[in-house]
Structures are given as structure tokens and as C-alpha cells.
């Protein structure tokens, strides 16, 4: 009787765990470091090293444009890349709810392998836990990542300077809306797909034309507005946006109108914000537009001295208003 569903025993540390790891994980993600199955992977490193982690709890686990596995690779690759690092090694840890179809796990692992291949990273260490039915939501994934930062870069959320230009690499809110459309109880359908993508290639192209980029960040949870507020706070500068220049897909706008959401607060998983000296912006922008993941890039605002820690936005009528951080959960509202 071959198993079709994940059982608690798959996480018990015994033979079934061992078999799951060797049959499903090592085979699909194979590389010399992972295959050793030691308690830690060992590699040579040198110089400025970036290290990050994220857990992925997306519901549903499969969605148009990707799945939780692809997301888990791209998210961590992107967090390394926006620091200027060349992502190299990822860890991969599953928390699986008993009863998950093994075929679903296989598909997730396939996507992980594909995303890792595209990003040029290796999964070198991992972990699998299984919890009782009702103690998790199908599957949670954590990845941590290690990357190496070439000489001469200094990128941080604290580096935004007055008169810098603010660029985004494409349309806002695609991922969040694609996910919401899959949720039970929200009766809408959309052609919008998650933008989930590894952005290290795009970022390499950007740094080639301008190693002087001050800040990069991926506007994930909390969206553009929240991420810019974080940067404004870290750098103690003001940021002023131009509402009309922020790219938003019509269908994302349409979904947001009906749900009472603002696309500037909706999550992205394949976009970056980049902040750099104004004079470098045109070159960076054209490098971005030349890359498939940056074709809708746009300059959306600039860094200012007044109102440190605050983000403001110029409305189409010409008024200036505050663009605050997200507060509370992003709930569809009907008011």
C-alpha cells in the first residue's frame, strides 16, 4: 500500500521521513551539498555576506502564477538580491499538515526546483515536520538564504537621500489580488496572475548600469505604501509620490474598487522599489524596462528633506496627502 497522503509518520524522523527526504527532496533538488544530508551544509564563503529568512503561509497554496514553493524561493532570493547580494544557497523547511496529498507536495517541490534553477541558487539544507490535521494549513514553507555582495555596493533601507528618484519595477498589487480571487467567500474572478518571480537577474542588470543605487526593497506584505514608509523611517527622509505615475493593472484597480482596497497596500511578490540619485534614474529605468520582469517600470516619486519618516502622495487634482502604513489586516470592506 503506497502512501498517497502525508502522515504524521513522515515527520517522525524515522524511516518514512528518511524516505521522503531521499526520494522526494534530494532527487528533485539534487546538488552535492544537499546530497550529503549532514546536519548543516558546508561551503566556502568570502566577503560581505547577506542572510535572510521568510516563512510562507499563503492560502491557497496553488494560485495563478505560482504556488507556495515558487513563492518561497523567489521571496528569499529577492530579499537577498535587494541588498545587492548574489543569492547562492537556500535552506528549505516544510511544516506539513497531515493529510496533504503527496502529489501536491511533489508539485510544490517541482516548482521549488524550477525557481531555484532560474535564480541560480541551490537548496543545500532542509527540514520536514508534520503536524496533526487542523494544526497547520496544508503546508507552510520557510526558506533562509545566503548570498554574497560584490565589492563597492552599499544598499540599505537607511540610505535614501533627498532628491533621489523612486522607481518601481512594474504594476502594483498583482500578487495580492491574484491570491484574494482564489479565496472562498470572495466572489470574484480575475485574469490577474501573481507576479511571483526571482528578481536577481533584473537587479544584476540594474547594478551593472548603476552600482550607486541607495535602496532596493521588494514591496511584499503591506504593499508599496508600507514599504516606502519603512524606508522613509529608516532613512529619516520624506518621500513624495505622484499618484498618476504609479503603474496599476486595470483589472487590479477594478478588483480593488469593488473590495474597498487601495492597490498601494496590496502585496507584490515580483516587484522592487529602487531609490538612487536622480541623475542615475534614466539609465536604471531603461535597464529595467529592457528586462522582462521590469518592462512596466516607472519613476513614481522622489525623496525629499521635509517630513522625515513620512510618505506623501500628489493626487491627480494636485493635492498632497499622507500615504500612511497599512493599519490592521487588509480586509475587504463595503463602506
Amino acid at each position: 500500500m503506497d502512501k498517497t497522503k502525508i502522515l504524521l509518520a513522515h515527520g517522525s524522523g524515522g524511516r518514512l521521513t528518511h524516505d521522503l527526504i531521499t526520494k522526494h527532496l534530494v532527487q528533485s533538488l539534487s546538488n552535492p551539498l544537499l546530497n550529503k544530508l549532514d546536519d548543516a551544509a558546508v561551503f566556502e564563503s568570502k566577503g560581505k555576506t547577506a542572510f535572510t529568512t521568510d516563512s510562507y503561509v499563503v492560502n491557497p497554496i496553488f494560485f495563478p502564477g505560482g504556488n507556495i514553493g515558487k513563492l518561497a524561493v523567489c521571496g528569499t532570493v529577492n530579499d537577498l538580491s535587494v541588498m545587492g547580494a548574489i543569492p547562492k544557497y537556500l535552506s528549505l523547511a516544510f511544516i506539513i499538515e497531515e493529510g496533504l496529498d503527496i502529489s501536491a507536495l511533489e508539485e510544490i517541490i517541482k516548482s521549488i526546483a524550477a525557481a531555484a534553477k532560474e535564480a541560480g541558487v541551490e537548496i543545500v539544507t532542509g527540514d520536514t515536520k508534520v503536524v496533526n490535521t487542523g494544526k497547520a494549513d496544508k503546508i507552510f514553507i520557510n526558506t533562509a538564504g545566503v548570498g554574497f555582495i560584490p565589492e563597492g555596493l552599499d544598499i540599505s533601507g537607511a540610505n535614501a537621500r533627498p532628491d533621489d528618484a523612486v522607481i518601481v519595477s512594474g504594476t502594483m498589487g498583482d500578487h495580492g489580488i491574484a491570491i484574494m480571487a482564489q479565496r472562498e467567500g470572495l466572489n470574484f474572478k480575475t485574469a490577474v496572475e501573481s507576479d511571483c518571480a526571482p528578481l536577481n537577474g533584473l537587479i544584476t542588470d540594474m547594478l551593472k548600469v548603476c552600482p550607486r543605487i541607495h535602496v532596493m526593497r521588494d514591496p511584499t506584505r503591506g504593499g508599496l505604501a508600507t514599504t516606502l514608509n519603512e524606508i522613509a523611517g529608516q532613512s529619516q527622509v520624506g518621500i513624495e509620490l505622484n499618484e498618476e505615475s504609479i503603474p496599476v493593472k486595470p483589472a487590479v484597480g477594478g478588483a480593488c474598487e469593488a473590495l474597498g482596497l487601495d492597490p498601494l497596500y496590496v502585496a507584490n511578490e515580483g516587484k522592487i522599489i529602487a531609490i538612487m540619485p536622480e541623475k542615475d534614474a534614466p539609465a536604471v529605468l531603461s535597464a529595467m524596462k529592457a528586462h522582462p520582469y521590469g518592462k512596466d517600470s516607472a519613476i513614481i516619486g522622489r525623496v525629499i528633506s521635509p517630513n522625515p519618516g513620512r510618505v506623501s502622495i500628489r493626487t491627480p487634482l494636485g493635492a498632497l496627502r499622507i500615504l500612511d502604513m497599512q493599519s490592521g489586516e487588509l480586509l475587504p470592506r463595503i463602506c
Binding site: 474598487e257 473590495l259 513620512r310 491627480p316 487634482l317 496627502r321 499622507i322 480586509l331 463595503i334 463602506c335
Partner: protein, 364 residues
């Protein structure tokens, strides 16, 4: 044409603003009744573009903000009953009752679900035949017909485990109450657009007729609001108060008769408890006796552990009446923030305090 973008043209917007700024000479106080308008005015940044002698006041038009603590306490008590699923629109979940919000009782284990539509709540009732699904009906005339429609569907489909806790309110009585109080010395009213699409603009004829105030029904796009303000400015400058409809594509004089009929079939008019204002007769909607089987108040024993209390220091009551602004509240943005709202005007996305907080913070 999608009836959105066309009504946000910045070129037309600037033309209307130019007209208003030229035409307006007299100081004027306009109240937008509707919380949706409050938010839109802030989001478009309209306030700062109007002549300084035009003051915009926010009225009682956020159904969450006017919900009394006493009514919310009942909802919280219902959510604690075993075997109950509470369904509500997302807006209501963060509002603090005397002690807790629905989000907080949910975190304690209560089954509280956010729905987008009463149709979703009916579906939840269908899928959980052993549970009792209580939809918390909140909202004005815009929303009440959709709840009425759900009750009719539940009856027609024999759904015996669907209940409505009706905290619905109707808008003309509170408008009268505020005008009668006369505390705010208004020059004109921006009448609610979507309420009026149901009730019809006729509902507001009493404003120019009985109170001799300028008024106009507005939509929610930037041009809708500016066009409405233009009309109010014209009326004030000409001293010819009348009822204008700047949202005629959605608002007819007689409203939506099919919706009014369904609402009338399910709901009776009854007194309602308005936060900061008190109980107003004939200002609420409760289920008719024919629909008693769907009435949460009649089918559950609601036990309150202690008397309801309003939060001391909160000026929501005054703000709803338009006699104070959030900036006059000592708690505003210090103690009271959207993350830790003290009053409902801060928690509701269309609450005046929230609009001031998110969009109105002082710049420079």
C-alpha cells in the same frame, strides 16, 4: 466608458475647481453626510483645493461609527454562544465594544467570519447545518435591502439556521435630528449617493423646503464631488437653496422601487440607538414579526455581563454630529490610532477620525 475613469479626469477636475474658486465668495460650511464622501474628499485631497472660506464638515454617515456600544455588546455576547458562527462585513470587526472587538473574540476562539455579501453568509449556513449562522446586519438604506434579500432567500430555501441581528439605521431621521439641533450652522449638505440610489433623491426634499439649506446628492468620484460642491456654491452664492442631483446616473427621484419593496417586506421601522446622539424614534430597521424565525434578537438569549459603557474621552458623538473635528480630540493619533482605536470613528475605514489620520496628517 466604465463610469469610473471618466469621472476622475484631472482636467475636468481642475476646471471645476477653478469655477468654484472663482464663484465662491461667501464663507460656507458644507457637511458631507456620508462617510464614503469623507474618505473620497480626503483621498482626492479636495479639502486643500477649495477656497479657505469653505469649511467641510463630516456627518453621521458611517454606519459603523454610529453603532452604539450597547448594540455592539450584544453582538459580542452572541459571538460567545456555543455553536454560533457570526458573519459580518470586514468593516465591523475592529470596532471596540465596551470591552472587546469581534477580532479579539475571534482570537479567543469565537467563530467570526468576514463575508463580502449576505450571499456568502447564506452559503456558510448551508454548509454548516449543525451551526447557527448569525449575520450582523449593519448599514443604511444602501445595504439594508441586501440583508432583506438574504432573509427572503433563507425563507424561500427553508434555511432554518440563518439569523440576522439587525442594527440597520435609516438616514433622514438623523439628518433631521442634526439640523434640528442646529449646533453646526450649516450652509449646505452633500447628500449620500448610494443611500439615495435606493431611497431616491426625493427623500432629501425636506432639506431645502423645511430647513432652507443648499443640498445636492453626490457620487464618489472626484468629479462627482467637485460637481456637487459647485452646485452647493452656486446655491449659496445665489441664495437659492434647492435639491440638486449631481449623480443622476445612479440616483433617480423615486430611487429603486424593487429594493424599497423588499426592504419594506422584511423590515419594520423602529427606534435606533445612535452613538453620541442617543435613541431616535423611527430611525432603525428591525425584522417584521413574520420573519421572527430569522431574528437573532428573538432566537438567542443575549446576556450582557455588565452595563455598556462608552469610552471616556472619545468625541465620536460630537464628531458624528459635526460639532467637533478629530483634531479637537485629545486622544487623536496619540492614544487613539487605527491599530488601537478608542472610538468607532477611528476604526471604520470611512470614519472621520480614520480619514483624518490616514490622509489628513499635517505635512511640512
Amino acid at each position: 466608458m466604465n463610469f469610473i475613469e471618466e469621472f476622475r479626469s484631472s482636467q475636468s477636475g481642475r476646471t471645476l475647481l477653478e469655477y468654484i474658486n472663482k464663484r465662491s465668495t461667501k464663507p460656507a460650511r458644507f457637511m458631507e453626510f456620508c462617510g464614503g464622501h469623507t474618505v473620497a474628499i480626503f483621498r482626492y485631497g479636495i479639502r486643500q483645493l477649495l477656497p479657505p472660506h469653505i469649511e467641510m464638515l463630516s456627518g453621521p454617515g458611517c454606519p459603523v461609527c454610529v453603532t452604539s456600544t450597547a448594540d455592539l455588546d450584544k453582538v459580542i455576547a452572541l459571538s460567545r454562544l456555543p455553536g454560533v458562527i457570526i458573519c459580518s462585513f470586514g468593516d465591523l470587526l475592529r470596532v471596540p465594544s465596551s470591552r472587546q472587538s469581534l477580532l479579539e473574540v475571534r482570537a479567543e476562539g469565537a467563530d467570526v467570519r468576514i463575508v463580502y455579501s449576505t450571499m456568502d453568509a447564506l452559503e456558510i449556513a448551508r454548509q454548516n447545518p449543525l451551526k447557527k449562522v448569525i449575520f450582523v446586519g449593519i448599514g443604511f438604506e444602501t445595504t439594508a435591502p441586501t440583508i432583506a434579500a438574504s432573509v427572503i432567500q433563507a425563507r424561500n430555501q427553508g434555511l432554518a439556521n440563518y439569523y440576522v441581528m439587525s442594527i440597520h439605521k435609516i438616514t433622514p431621521p438623523v439628518m433631521r435630528a442634526i439640523l434640528d439641533a442646529g449646533e453646526t450652522r450649516l450652509s449646505g449638505i452633500i447628500c449620500p449617493g448610494h443611500v439615495s440610489s435606493i431611497t431616491g433623491s426625493n427623500a432629501w426634499e425636506f432639506i431645502p423646503e423645511e430647513y432652507h439649506l443648499a443640498c445636492a446628492v453626490s457620487g464618489f468620484e472626484s468629479l462627482d464631488i467637485l460637481y456637487c460642491v459647485k452646485s452647493l456654491v452656486d446655491q449659496v452664492e445665489d441664495a437659492t437653496p434647492r435639491l440638486d442631483v449631481s449623480y443622476s446616473r445612479a440616483v433617480k427621484p423615486e430611487g429603486n422601487t424593487a429594493a424599497l419593496k423588499i426592504m419594506d417586506e422584511v423590515f419594520d421601522i423602529c427606534p435606533a440607538n445612535w452613538r453620541g446622539i442617543g435613541i431616535l424614534p423611527q430611525s432603525g430597521l428591525c425584522l417584521r414579526p413574520e420573519f421572527a424565525a430569522f431574528d437573532a434578537e428573538k432566537n438567542f438569549e443575549i446576556k450582557l455581563s455588565e452595563p455598556s459603557r462608552e469610552t471616556p474621552g472619545c468625541l465620536c458623538g460630537e464628531i458624528i454630529k459635526g460639532t467637533r473635528t478629530p483634531l479637537e480630540c485629545k486622544l487623536f493619533s496619540k492614544v487613539c490610532t487605527p491599530e488601537n482605536p478608542v472610538g468607532p470613528c477611528m476604526v471604520s475605514s470611512e470614519g472621520t477620525c480614520a480619514a483624518y489620520y490616514h490622509y489628513g496628517g499635517k505635512l511640512g
